[in-house]
């Protein structure tokens, strides 16, 4: 991430880090309805907004939460809301409205198990498609998937930057594990200056209500003055193209992919969010990278009841591709990074969704889904054993 590592070291929960980051990014309006497992964001925002001269409202539901932050943004305040699966479902209508009115907004979805009320206290990555396709109509969205508390902090700041720059809703797709985990992180003091009112990529009027201009905020397709063009096929098509292209054409600028040990890898794990962490552990174990490998060996010996001296995974040249910006899908870059890989494994805490995107993109490789349902995260051993099952043991 492009943020300098200076500031104060603290230990916070992921949810708390998200709230702190929002304040640092200049969020001045928060509306939300507390829902497990994102409640801590709402809780902390309540006091943080009070201390930083912002506004906090506990709304009657998530529909109102999402609508009110759109209003707040047009009123000139950077705004955020936080929720989990069931609330995110209710927010979809407002997300579509924000997309068509080109309103910057940040929505934190701390994912829990679904469908419906599902598993409130357990983790999942089941909302990955909903983040992109949740509302009706053609629109593009930006979604970031943090895997650590520091990333929860950094990505929240980046979400505000991206949403202002591309004037679009940005979703932070966290999950229960990241939200409730406590880790050491670096927080910054003061307030970051994030430029608002970029004009490059946007068609709709962009003035905030309080800057002295007349502004039309229109849910129908419209022109640069906010006037309706829904009855004009050409202009309408141009508009829909425009709100999609402003994101797809700047994917180089938006995308954020980290690679680990990919230089000589012919097997790649592609992961996002918290699952990328056991994946990285699996990669390091296979490559015998740190002292932790010894511990793994001992564990393995205990599991199979006999002693193996050699690292049983040393024949695997595994690397990890960690996708931080899950949407827009970084197709071109992924193709380039994984071109030498014969096998691609995609562990996810859902029934195997994002795997389809990757399979579509990497036609040359054998793409294998490693889904896990039930609310627990993959263990490094599960990932490694699945790889060995597919690739085979060493001779």
């Amino acid at each position: 991430m492009p943020y300098a590592r200076y500031g104060r070291k603290v230990i916070l929960q992921g949810n708390e880090a998200c709230a702190k980051a929002a304040v640092y990014a200049g969020c001045k309006f928060f509306a939300g309805y507390p829902i497990t497992p994102s409640t801590e964001i709402v809780e902390l925002m309540c006091s943080e907004m009070l201390n930083s001269g912002g506004t906090f409202i506990q709304m009657e539901d998530e529909i109102a939460s999402a609508c009110s932050i759109i209003g707040a943004r047009w009123g000139g305040k950077k705004a955020m809301t936080a929720t989990s699966g069931p609330g995110f479902t209710l927010m979809q209508e407002a997300i579509g409205f924000a997309a068509v009115t080109e309103t910057p907004m940040v929505i934190v979805n701390v994912q829990r198990g679904g469908p419906s009320t599902g598993q409130p206290t357990k983790s999942s990555q089941q909302d990955i498609y909903q983040a992109k396709y949740g509302s009706h109509g053609d629109y593009e969205i930006i979604a970031l998937a943090p895997a650590s508390v520091q990333e929860m902090y950094d990505f929240t700041i980046r979400a505000f930057e991206l949403s202002e720059k591309f004037r679009t809703p940005v979703v932070i797709l966290a999950d229960e594990i990241v939200g409730h985990m406590r880790e050491k992180l670096i927080v910054y003091s003061g307030e970051k200056r994030i430029r608002a009112g970029y004009r490059h990529y946007v068609l709709s009027p962009q003035d905030d209500f309080f800057t002295g201009n007349n502004t039309l905020v229109e849910g129908q397709l419209h022109d640069s003055e906010g006037k309706r063009v829904g009855h004009l096929p050409n202009r309408s098509a141009y508009y829909v193209n425009s709100i999609n292209r402003k994101i797809t054409r700047h994917i180089d600028e938006i995308e954020d992919i980290e690679t680990f040990y990919m230089a000589d890898a012919d097997i790649a794990i592609i992961a996002y969010g918290s699952v990328s962490r056991p994946s990285l552990k699996a990669v390091k174990t296979a490559r015998g990278i740190n002292v932790e490998a010894e511990r793994r060996m001992r564990l393995l010996n205990r599991m199979i009841g006999r002693k193996i001296d050699k690292n049983p995974y040393s024949h695997l040249n595994i690397g990890l591709i960690k996708i931080n910006t899950v949407w827009p899908f970084p197709e071109k870059r992924l193709k380039h990074l994984a071109e030498k890989c014969k096998y691609i494994f995609v562990p996810e805490m859902n029934i195997g969704k994002y795997f389809r995107e990757i399979e579509r993109c990497l036609k040359e490789s054998r793409v294998i889904s490693l889904p896990k349902l039930g609310g627990d995260i993959h263990t490094p051993d599960e990932i490694l054993m699945a790889i060995v099952r597919e690739v085979g043991n060493s001779e």
Binding site: I11, I177, M181, R182, E183, K184, N290, E292, R295
Partner: protein, 185 residues
């Protein structure tokens, strides 16, 4: 060095709080990498409750625990639930007022008794944390005290530090009696 520390007990005993304090002492005081996770759900008073802390001088990739090094049991239910995962090398501290076991390798601290004698029954976790601080490697007494001072309201800091000291000195005396320091991990 990597330490996988697991706390188990009942909701209301301060299990999660003590794990947070330990994570902060290691993370901020000793500048190690830490990850603290906890069971999340019906952890109302009396329900089963678990917290885990990973301490490492390397990056912590996998945030959960699959191989316990240190186990702290606050009550019998918690002990019974996780004692099967233990190996001989593991450091085990139990609240011996509430946990019964025949294993002589465990460190037994009558934490509930000590806390009740002090007239501060809520400070069971502080007694346990004190004993634990004495036993854990690369953790300085003062760093934990600093965290306690910062974490709690002024009105209860004194009582908590007192309880912490009781646990710490209990373990010190035990060690002096036995004459053998705990095996380093």
């Amino acid at each position: 060095m990597r330490l996988n520390i697991r706390f188990a007990g009942a909701g209301g005993q301060g299990v999660i709080r003590s794990s947070i304090l330990l994570a902060k002492a290691y993370g901020l005081g000793e500048d190690m990498n830490v990850t603290q996770t906890q069971s999340y759900g019906p952890e109302a008073r009396g329900g089963a409750c678990k917290a885990e802390v990973v301490v490492s001088d390397e990056d912590i990739d996998y945030m959960k625990i699959d191989d316990v090094d240190v186990f702290i049991a606050y009550n019998q239910t918690g002990y019974d639930k996780y004692c099967d995962d233990l190996e001989e090398k593991d450091l085990v501290v139990i609240n011996s007022t509430l946990v019964e076991t025949n294993n002589s390798n465990h460190y037994k601290v009558p934490a509930t008794k000590i806390a009740e004698e002090m007239g501060n029954p809520l400070a069971v976790n502080m007694v346990m944390l004190g004993a634990l601080t004495k036993l854990l490697p690369n953790l300085r007494y003062q760093k934990v005290i600093d965290v306690i001072k910062e974490e709690f309201d002024d009105s209860i800091v004194k009582g908590n530090i007192e309880a912490f000291d009781r646990g710490y000195s209990y373990m010190e005396e035990k060690e002096a009696m036995n004459g053998e320091p705990p095996e380093s991990l």
